[in-house]
Symmetry: C2
Subunit: 77 residues, 2 copies
């Protein structure tokens, strides 16, 4: 068994209303010094050792992320 | 400027319907070998060097995560 982390983020050119909402809330509660916030998804998978990186990227691109608007990274931890 | 990553995950004892939906979809499309999927949130913050770890944990616990049902990690990258 291996643990795999897949992080999915909106592509840089895509607006991120959730991140912007957090940014505005930070100003409102008086926290200074945070220039930008972007929000994505974080997946933790428990996989057999037989699952290769190609399969992991296929899973990420078909089920976890929308390749049109999101980028992802696959990391074995 | 520093980049900070905050990962927010449902606590282990909390059900995760989104992760379970991904697990079921994997079986349906014929991917074997994935034993468990859990889904959380991934935040990327651009912060001034003046923002200390205590402030980051305060931000995470008040705006990014719900401490009753979620755990989080703060990582400077």
């Amino acid at each position: 068994m291996a643990r795999v982390v897949v992080d999915v983020m909106p592509k840089p050119e895509i607006l991120d209303p959730q991140g912007q909402a957090v940014s505005r809330a930070l100003s409102r509660i008086g926290v200074a010094g945070v220039a930008d916030v972007r929000q994505g998804k974080h997946f933790e998978l428990e996989v057999d050792d037989s699952v290769d990186d190609e399969t992991l990227h296929r899973i990420a691109g078909s089920l976890l992320a929308n390749p049109v608007i999101e980028d992802w990274t696959v990391t074995r931890v």
